[in-house]
């Protein structure tokens, strides 16, 4: 008879996670991104020397979910805080986890200058095209014509501007070592995202400069969609506007093999 022996195990909740259930809405891919980070840190064996920097936004309680040290940054200032921590404790692995309202709006100055200085930090950037925590307002990454609570007729680019492609923009800076965009809308892309997160942390450990992984994510509740439909929206609407790919792959980062 089949028993639940250790060699039967294919997959279990990563050790990098605490036992706390997340507060995210059902089907939100924030949880997938959290899980990938936890799995990568566990596989690299750096859980006990990692310091995360939580943002303001939906991921504000990220410190409850990871088995690592954590600090909470003021809105948008996670890269500045991570800079200080990494400079004081260079042997630690320091990462920030930020959404688009945090990173691409109020924190745009911090992220651009952290990348320009080539700080040895890793940034996990969740792009879900709106401000999730505060009720789905328009963010810098909201698609043209997309309805949000603060653009009820759809984003009008004449008056509200065009979406910002953060990865492309940061890739022009010499301090950036590894800047890529991935998506979380299907199992294949989730696997690719995990690989990118691994390379981003390896980039940091080898001192190759600033690393950022942008993850296209869903916000089913604020998009007024079922979780499955939200994944389709990412695939059909967001990926064409925010193309997936490696935007900055420095010579050192290109040699990292996993």
């Amino acid at each position: 008879m089949v028993t639940t022996a250790p060699n039967n195990l294919v997959y279990e909740r990563p050790e990098g996670f605490t036992d706390t259930p997340t507060h995210y809405c059902p089907g939100c891919t924030h949880g997938v991104a959290h899980r990938l980070v936890a799995e990568v840190l566990e596989e690299m064996g750096v859980l006990d020397k990692t310091i995360g920097v939580a943002p303001v936004g939906c991921a504000v309680f990220a410190y409850n979910y990871f088995e690592t040290d954590f600090v909470e940054a003021p809105h948008g200032r996670a890269p500045a805080m991570a800079t200080g921590i990494k400079r004081v404790m260079p042997e630690r692995v320091v990462f920030t986890y930020q959404g688009d309202g945090d990173l691409a709006s109020i924190g745009m100055g911090e992220i651009v200058h952290a990348a320009a200085r080539g700080e040895n930090i890793t940034v996990i950037f969740i792009n879900n095209a709106n401000y999730g925590m505060t009720g789905g307002q328009m963010a810098p990454t909201t698609l043209p014509g997309m309805k949000t609570t603060s653009s009820p007729n759809g984003r009008d680019v004449e008056t509200q501007g065009y979406p910002i492609r953060v990865s492309e923009m940061l890739s022009t800076l010499d301090g950036a070592g590894y800047v890529v965009r991935r998506s979380l809308h299907d199992p294949k892309n989730i696997r690719l995202a995990k690989k990118a997160i691994r390379i981003a942390f390896e980039t940091q450990i080898r001192g190759l400069g600033f690393s950022l992984v942008e993850l296209l994510s869903t916000c089913p509740v604020n998009w007024n969609m079922k979780p499955v439909d939200a994944l389709k929206f990412v695939e059909e609407k967001m990926v064409p506007y925010f193309p997936l790919g490696d935007y900055k792959l420095s010579a050192g980062a290109a040699q990292i093999k996993i």
Binding site: N8, V10, Y11, R35
Partner: protein
């Protein structure tokens, strides 16, 4: 013969978002409408044979609620 697998879904973490159900390549998952988790969600479960233990449900699960097992078909060498 395909591998035989099974899963355990944690009532503590599952929020009934159905992402695993749409991702399951064998289409053997559904929400268990006969019971509720302590949070008030109908949890996902396997309703028929056919699970291969591929772990795709666990890869898409945003809450890491799924533990995946697979039957070991080859003889495993025992220690000493």
């Amino acid at each position: 013969m395909p591998a035989k697998g099974w899963i355990e879904v944690s009532d503590l973490y599952c929020k009934g978002c159905e992402l695993c159900i749409s991702a399951c390549p064998q289409e053997v998952m559904e929400l268990d409408m006969s019971r509720l988790t302590p949070k008030g969600y109908h949890p996902a479960h396997i309703f028929t044979d056919g699970c291969t233990g591929c772990a795709i449900c666990a890869i898409v699960c945003p809450d890491a609620a799924i533990t995946v097992y697979r039957e070991v078909t080859k003889a495993v060498p025992t220690a000493a």
